[in-house]
Point group: C2
Amino acid sequence: MAALKYSRQREAIIDFLQTRKDHPSADMVYMNVRKEFPNISLGTVYRNLTLLSDLGVILRLHLEDGVDHFDATTAPHFHFYCTQCKSVLDLDLEDSPSLVTSAQEQFAGKIQGHATYFYGLCDQCIHK
Amino acid sequence: MAALKYSRQREAIIDFLQTRKDHPSADMVYMNVRKEFPNISLGTVYRNLTLLSDLGVILRLHLEDGVDHFDATTAPHFHFYCTQCKSVLDLDLEDSPSLVTSAQEQFAGKIQGHATYFYGLCDQCIHK
DNA sequence: TTCCTTGCAAATCGTTTGCATAATG
DNA sequence: CATTATGCAAACGATTTGCAAGGAA
């Protein structure tokens, strides 16, 4: 029942997210979209991020740092979180359907998906 | 350099968590431990939960509902989150070192572990 | 004109923290 | 006695929300 109407701000938010692979926080989105829309408010950013993730257009990630992160790649994939530099990366494993399948075999409810993140040290943080 | 000292409140918090398999929030812990220590403060509950999860005695889970959940089972396992009733369950999958292993094969950094939760509808929510 | 969206600011809410006091080792 | 833990309340920070004005259908 949404009856969504177009807005340039929302488009800019989606566009920005699609250029990034590092899963920005709402504040990051805000600071960047502000270059194009200096008057955009943080509330508008949050409203759109919430709307878009409710619609499934983007993903909302809950990591360990207390701030939500957003991801324009909605195809199932895995994430890596560096405990040192706090960066977030995509991991492209082939294996994800079998994970859900094997979980489903042992679970009476209906599994619709999963959120998985690996944690540890990223390549850069190891070498310094 | 911790130099931990005993406290009855902390013990009660751990004891309570060990009796539960539903991964209570800090507020749940607070309400229950209050039966035994009516004057305990929410701050003390948070301080101990944070301390214990930093020490690795318990796990702190970041789910979709915006509140942190705590788990006294620290052995690697999976979680299920019901998107309808918001309950959290343990899933005992044949532990998959293969998950970390296969991820590690394709990743230059060092993977130390993973947090995985499945989401969907639990058995009870399907049948109503 | 109707209803969605925005900007702004205030409100929420989970969590953390400063401080004086109590308990532990 | 030295140090850690507690209770209380205030502070914090991320996110949400009410409202009046602006923009899309």
